[in-house]
C-alpha cells in the first residue's frame, strides 16, 4: 500500500482507533446523505417544471451576487455529486483505514464536495467561478495527497496548472460574457442570446470559455492531465472521474448552452473536439494494463462523448447527453471503487496478472459485472438507453452525421473491450495458471463493497424503470440546457427496428468479437503509438514548464546581473529613453531660445572652468586628480550661484565642496590602488548614456526658462516674512518657519545618518548560519 509509511499508528485512544479503522466513514457520510435526501425531496417540485432561485447580495460594488438556482440540470448534478459523494465518503473510511492523515483527507474531500455543489447550483457567473477555482484547489490537495511521493506532487501540480490556466481563461471569458450580456445572472443569459452572439465579443468569449471547459473536462488537447490525476487515492479518483471535477467542464457547457450555443462555431468546435477526445480516450484505454489507467482513459472518452453531444445539440443531443451523464457517473463511480477493492485486496492493479477473483470477491464481482454491462451498453441496463440515444443523435447531427456516427460506433466498440478488461478479466479464470498477487485476496469490508453495489444496482434499476425514474428529471434537465420546454419520451427497448437499434446490435457484436480476438492487436497498436499519443502530450507539457523555467532563469540572470554599474546604466538609460520620447514627441522644442540673453565674459570663463574640471575627472589617472577635478566643478557651480545673486547658496555650496574634497582626501589613502578595470567600449557606452542624460536635462531646463514664469507664492513670502514671521531674511524664514518641517525632516536625516555611521563602525556581526551567504565579492548575486 502506498501510504504505508505514513500509517504506523502509535498509541491512540479507542475512539481514534475506531475512527482510523474506517468507522469515521460511516459517521461522516451522514452529512452528504442528509443533503442528498434534502435535494431528493425537491425532485417533485423540480420535475413539475418549477425552478427555484435564491439570491443574496454579496459584493454589490462588483455586481456579484451569491445566487443559486435549482432546475433540472443543477438538481441532476447535485444529486450525483452528493449521492456518489456519500458512497465515496463511506468507501474512503474503509479504503483509507489506518491513515494518520485521514482528518485532512476528509477535510479536502468535503471542501471538494462543497465546491462542486456550489458550482453546479450557482446562478451568478462570478459565484460559479469562485466555486470552479475551489474545485481546482481542493483537487490539487487531493491528487497530491500522498505528498511524500514526487510523482504524486508533480501530477497534482500538472492538474493544477492546466485547470488553473484554463480557469484564468474562463475568468476572462465570464467577465466578457457579463459585459456582453449586461448581466452576471446565469438564468438571464438565455434570453440575451442574440445580444451576446451579435456583440462582437462572441468569438473571444467562446474561445476563452471553451479553454476553461476543455481543460477542466480533459478534452483534447488537454486530456493528458486526467490519467496523471490517478496519483490520488482511489476514492478520490472514483469521485473525480464520476461525478465531480471533470464533469464541471461539461456542466459549464450545458449551463451556458442557452447563452452561447446554437451557432455553427459552437456546434462544430464542440462536436469535433468531443469526437476526437472520445476516440482518442477509447483507443488509449484498451492498450493499458493498469486498471485505474484503463478507467481513466475511458473517462476521457466519455467526457468527449458528452461534449460532442452538447455540440450536436438539439433535443436529441441534449437528452442523450443528460442520460449518458447519469449512465457514466453510475458505472464509473462503481468501477473505480471496484478497482480500488482489487488493489486493496490483492496489492495489484495489473490486469495482465489478475484473474479468477470471482470466487474470493463475489459481491465486488457482481457490482463490476453490472457496471460493465452498463458501460458496454447492454439491455436492460441504463447504458443501453444511453447508447441508443447517442446513436439517435449522431445520425441526426446537423453536419457530418456519417463521420460522427462512425467515430461513435468505433469508440463504443473499444469501450466494450475496455469494460471486459476491467470487469471480466480480473474476475474470471483465465486458461493459464493463476499468477500470485502480493496479497491473498478476499472480500473487503461492507463499507467498501456497499458503494459499488449500490451504484451497480442503480444502473439496473434506472434502466428498468427508465420512464418512471429518469424521464421526469431528464425532461427538466434538457429543458434547462435548451432554454425551452421539451417533451421527452424515454424507453428501454425500441418498439420498432430503427437504424440506431441496428447500430447498437452491431456495436455489441463487434465489441464482443474484438474483446475475444482483437485485444493483442489493439494492445500492440496502442503501444506503438504510445510515444506520440500518450507520452507526447505529457512530455510536451513538461517541456513547456521546463522551458519557461529556463527562460525565467536566463532573463533574470541577464537583468539581475549582480553588477551595480550595469544597474546604474540601465536605470539612467531607461529614464533618458522614455523621457526623451516624451520630450521629442510631446514638447515644442522650437520654444527653446539659446542665445537670447548675452553671455558675459566671466560666465563663459566659469563654464569653461567647469568643463575643464569634468575633462580632468574623465582623464584622471589617480584619485587625487579626480577629486581635484570634481572640486573644480563644484567651485565653478558656486561661482554661478554667485553671479545670479544667491549668496546663501554660495556659502552652502562652498562649505559642502570644501568639506567633500577634504573628506575625500582623508579617506584616499585607505583605499586600494586606483586601476582602470572597465573596457574602452564600455566607457564609451557609459559616456554616451551620461552625455544623453546631460543633454536631456539641459533641454528640459532650457524649455523651462523659455516659458513664462509663474510666481504665485513670491509676493506672499516677501510680504509675510517680516510682518507675520518676524524675520528679515526671506530665505531663512522659509527654511525655519514657512517650511520649517522640511528642515526638521532633514535634520532627522542627519541624525539617523550619524547613528548609521556609528553602527557601521561598531556593529559587526558574523553572518548568521545559512543566511545571505550567496553573494560573493565579485559582485555576483547568485541565483
Amino acid at each position: 500500500m502506498a501510504q504505508s509509511e505514513i500509517t504506523q499508528a502509535d498509541s491512540q485512544s479507542p475512539l481514534m482507533a475506531w475512527a482510523m479503522r474506517g468507522g469515521i466513514g460511516w459517521v461522516l457520510s451522514i452529512l452528504p446523505l442528509s443533503l442528498t435526501l434534502y435535494f431528493a425531496s425537491l425532485l417533485p417540485t423540480i420535475t413539475s417544471g418549477t425552478v427555484l432561485r435564491v439570491s443574496y447580495t454579496w459584493i454589490p460594488s462588483l455586481g456579484v451576487d451569491f445566487a443559486f438556482i435549482v432546475d433540472g440540470l443543477s438538481l441532476t448534478f447535485v444529486l450525483l455529486v452528493l449521492g456518489i459523494g456519500t458512497l465515496v465518503v463511506l468507501y474512503a473510511g474503509g479504503y483509507m483505514a489506518g491513515d494518520r492523515q485521514i482528518g485532512r483527507f476528509y477535510l479536502y474531500l468535503f471542501l471538494f464536495m462543497g465546491a462542486m455543489v456550489g458550482l453546479v447550483l450557482a446562478d451568478n457567473l462570478i459565484t460559479l467561478f469562485v466555486f470552479w477555482e475551489l474545485t481546482s484547489i481542493s483537487s490539487y490537495l487531493l491528487i497530491g495527497y500522498k505528498h511524500a511521493y514526487y510523482s504524486s506532487r508533480s501530477s497534482a501540480l500538472q492538474a493544477l496548472l492546466i485547470t488553473g490556466a484554463g480557469g484564468l481563461a474562463l475568468l476572462a471569458g465570464l467577465v466578457l460574457l457579463g459585459i456582453a450580456a449586461e448581466t452576471q445572472t446565469i438564468s438571464e443569459l438565455g434570453s440575451r442570446h442574440e445580444l451576446i452572439v451579435n456583440s462582437g465579443l462572441y468569438a473571444p468569449i467562446l474561445i476563452l470559455v471553451l479553454i476553461g471547459a476543455f481543460t477542466k473536462s480533459a478534452q483534447f488537447p488537454f486530456q493528458f492531465w486526467l490519467p496523471g490525476a490517478m496519483a490520488a487515492p482511489t476514492p478520490v479518483s472514483a469521485y473525480l472521474h464520476s461525478a465531480t471535477m471533470v464533469k464541471a467542464g461539461v456542466f459549464l457547457l450545458a449551463r451556458l448552452n442557452p447563452a452561447l450555443g446554437d451557432t455553427p462555431a459552437w456546434q462544430i468546435t464542440l462536436t469535433v473536439f468531443g469526437a476526437i477526445t472520445m476516440a482518442l480516450g477509447a483507443y488509449l484505454a484498451v492498450s493499458q494494463t493498469d486498471l485505474k489507467r484503463i478507467l481513466a482513459f475511458t473517462t476521457v472518452s466519455s467526457l468527449g462523448t458528452l461534449v460532442m453531444l452538447i455540440g450536436i445539440g438539439g433535443e436529441h443531443g441534449i437528452v442523450a447527453m443528460m442520460v449518458f451523464l447519469i449512465v457514466h457517473s453510475l458505472y464509473k463511480g462503481c468501477l473505480f471503487m471496484v478497482a480500488g477493492n482489487i488493489d486493496h485486496e490483492t496489492g495489484s492493479r495489473d490486469v495482465s496478472i489478475l484473474s479468477g477473483l470471482r470466487r474470493e470477491m463475489p459481491i465486488t464481482f457482481g457490482a463490476a459485472a453490472l457496471a460493465a454491462l452498463s458501460m458496454a451498453g447492454l439491455p436492460p441496463l441504463l447504458g443501453f438507453v444511453g447508447k441508443e440515444l447517442i446513436y439517435e443523435s449522431t445520425l441526426d447531427a446537423r453536419f457530418a452525421a456519417a463521420a460522427v456516427t462512425t467515430v461513435a460506433v468505433a469508440s463504443n466498440i473499444l469501450m466494450i473491450v475496455a469494460a471486459g478488461m476491467v470487469a471480466v478479466r480480473p474476475f474470471l479464470p483465465t486458461g493459464t495458471t493463476r499468477h500470485s498477487t502480493p496479497r491473498h485476496p478476499h472480500e473487503p469490508p461492507i463499507s467498501m463493497w456497499l458503494g459499488p453495489a449500490v451504484l451497480a444496482t442503480l444502473s439496473a434499476v434506472f434502466g428498468l424503470f427508465v420512464v418512471q425514474v429518469m424521464q421526469p428529471i431528464v425532461t427538466q434537465g434538457a429543458a434547462a440546457i435548451l432554454g425551452e420546454a421539451v417533451e421527452v419520451k424515454l424507453k428501454l427497448l425500441p418498439t420498432s427496428i430503427t437504424g440506431y437499434f441496428l447500430l447498437s446490435v452491431l456495436t455489441i457484436a463487434l465489441g464482443i468479437v474484438s474483446y475475444l480476438y482483437a485485444r493483442p492487436a489493439l494492445m500492440q497498436a496502442g503501444k506503438a503509438t504510445r510515444g506520440a499519443l500518450e507520452d507526447g502530450f505529457v512530455n510536451g507539457f513538461t517541456d513547456l514548464v521546463n522551458n519557461t523555467q529556463a527562460f525565467a532563469r536566463w532573463i533574470t540572470r541577464a537583468l539581475q546581473s549582480g553588477y551595480l554599474r550595469r544597474y546604474v546604466l540601465i536605470t539612467i538609460g531607461a529614464v533618458v529613453s522614455v523621457a526623451s520620447a516624451a520630450l521629442l514627441t510631446r514638447a515644442d522644442l522650437s520654444a527653446i531660445r539659446l542665445f537670447d540673453t548675452p553671455l558675459f565674459l566671466w560666465e563663459t570663463a566659469t563654464i569653461l572652468v567647469i568643463l575643464a574640471g569634468v575633462a580632468l575627472v574623465l582623464r584622471a589617472r589617480s584619485r587625487l586628480t579626480a577629486i581635484a577635478g570634481l572640486g573644480t566643478v563644484g567651485f565653478g557651480i558656486t561661482l554661478i550661484f554667485f553671479f545670479f545673486g544667491a549668496p546663501d547658496l554660495v556659502m552652502t555650496q562652498f562649505s559642502v565642496e570644501t568639506l567633500s574634497v577634504l573628506l575625500f582626501i582623508l579617506i584616499l589613502y585607505r583605499l586600494p590602488i586606483f586601476t582602470t578595470i572597465s573596457h574602452r567600449y564600455s566607457r564609451l557606452r557609459d559616456g554616451i548614456v551620461a552625455g544623453l542624460a546631460g543633454l536631456l536635462m539641459t533641454m528640459i531646463t532650457l524649455l523651462t526658462i523659455a516659458g513664462e514664469e509663474l510666481k504665485p507664492l513670491t509676493p506672499f513670502y516677501a510680504e509675510a516674512s517680516y510682518v507675520e514671521a518676524r524675520g528679515r531674511n526671506v530665505v531663512n524664514v522659509i527654511l525655519v518657519d514657512f517650511r520649517g518641517i522640511d528642515t526638521m525632516g532633514e535634520i532627522t536625516v542627519l541624525g539617523i545618518a550619524s547613528l548609521g555611521i556609528y553602527l557601521l563602525l561598531t556593529l559587526r556581526l558574523a553572518p548568521a548560519d545559512g543566511q545571505a551567504e550567496a553573494e560573493d565579492s565579485t559582485g555576483k548575486e547568485q541565483l
Binding site: G164, I179, L564, P712, G756, L763, E781
Partner: protein, 504 residues
Amino acid sequence: MNLVVFLPLFVPFFTGIIGLLLWGKPQAQRVVSLLGGIGLTLVGANLLLTVIQQGIQVTYIGDWVAPFGITLVADLLSAIMVFVAGMMTLSTVIYAIVTLDAPRERNGFHVLLHFMLFGVIGAFLTGDIFNLFVWYEVMLISSFVLLVMGGERAQLEGGIKYVTLNLIASALFLSAVGILYGVVGTLNMAHLAILVPQVEQQGLITTLAILFLFAFGIKSALFPVFFWLPASYHTPPIAVTVIFSALLTKVGIYSLIRVFTLIFTTDTAFTHTVLLIIAALTMILGVLGAVAQFEMRRLLSFHIISQIGYLLMGLALFTPLSLAATVFFLVHVIFAKSALFLVGGIIHHMTGTYDLKKLGGFYRVSPVLSVLFFIPAMSLAGIPPLSGFWAKYALVRAGLENNQPWIVAAALGVSILTMFSMTKIWAEAFLKEADDGKLRENVPALQSIPAALRLPMLAPIIVLAVLMVVMGVAAEPFFALSLQTAEQLLSRTEYVQAVLGVQL
C-alpha cells in the same frame, strides 16, 4: 492644528526620540516600541474613521495656510495607508521582539524602525511635493541603516546597491521638483492640480511627469529600475525584510497614484500608456524572477516586484473600478506578502535556512504553519474566495471594460506563474519528504519553539491570514471603501477644496 492628522506623524517620531533617550536599555526600548506600534495603529484607525465620516482632513503646519506653508492632507487613500502602516509596524515590532538577535535589537533597531515610519507616514500625509522629498530622505536613510546594521558582508553589498540606486531616484526626484517649481511656481499639490493644466508648455509637463514616474518608479521597483530590491531584500533579518516589503515600495506606488491622479492628468494618452506598458513588463519580469528562485526570501522578493505591476496596472487603466482595484490590491498585497515573509522567518528560525532544496516535511509535522502559509500563498495567487481574487477580478474586469485585452492577458498569465512559484514553496518546504518517499527525519515542529515565543511569532500571521479571508469572503465593505477612494482620487475636487478652499 488638526491633531487627528498630526498625531500619526508625531507618534513614530516621538517613539523614536524616547527610544534614543533609552539607549542601552533594551527592555525599556521594547516597551516603548510596542507602545509606539499600538499608538500608531490607534491614531491611524482614528484618522481613517474620521476621514470616512467627515471627509478629507487637513492641517497647516505652523498655521501657514496653503499653498504658502506645508499642508498635511489625509484623504481616504492616505488614511488607509497610514492605518495599514500602523498595523504592519505593530506586527513587525512584536515579531522582532521575539526573533531579532540581541545585538541588533540593543543597537537601535526599534529606534530606526520608528524613524523610518516617521518618514513613511510623512510621505502618506504630506500635501506638498517638496516635503514629500524630505520624507523620502528620512525613509531612505533609516531604511539604509536598518538594512546594513550588523555589517554582514552580504548586507553591506546589498546596502551599497540599495543606496546607490535610491540616490539616483532622489536626484531625479529633486531635479523634477525643482523644474516643476520653476515652471509652475508652487509646491503644494492641490495648488499644482489647479495650475499645471494652465501651463502653456504641456509637453514639458509630460516630460516632467516621466521624470516623476521614474523617481517614484525606482522606489516602487518598477521594470526596468527594480534592481535594488532583489539585490538587497534577502540580506537583513526577516523582521526588517517584512516591514520593507510591506511599506517601502508601497510608498513609491502611493506617490505614483498621488501625482498621476492629482497633478499629471493632462496627457494621459501618453503618460498612462507608458504606465500600462511598464505595468505589464514589471509584473511579467517580476514573476519570472520568482520562478527562477529556489531561496524563499529571494523568491518572495521578486514577487513584490510582480505585484507592483498589478498595482500600477490599476492606476494606468485610470477608471474608478481599476483604481479601486489598485487600492484594494495594495492593502491585500501588504497583508499577503508580510504573512509569507513571516512564515519564511519562522521556518528559518527553526531550520536555519531559506533554501527550498534543504527544506521539507512541514506539511506533515506542522498543520498550523501549513495553513498559515497556504492562505496567504493562495491569496497572492488570486484564488477565491480570498482577498487576492477580488483584487485580480476587479483589475481583469476593468481591463476588459476598457478594451485592453493585452494587459489582461499579461495579468492572467502572470497569475498562473504566481501560482506556480507559490506551489513551489508549498511542494518543496511543506509537502516534500525524503527523495525516496521515506519520511524526512528531524523536521522541527512548532512545538520546538518555546511557548512564550511561539504565540507572539504566530499572532501577526494569524491576524493577517484572518484578514485575508475576511477581505475575501466579506469583501463588500472593503471594496466599497476602495471604490469611494478611487472616486475621490479621480474627481480631485474634494481634495483641492479641502486644502485650498476653492473649486477646481
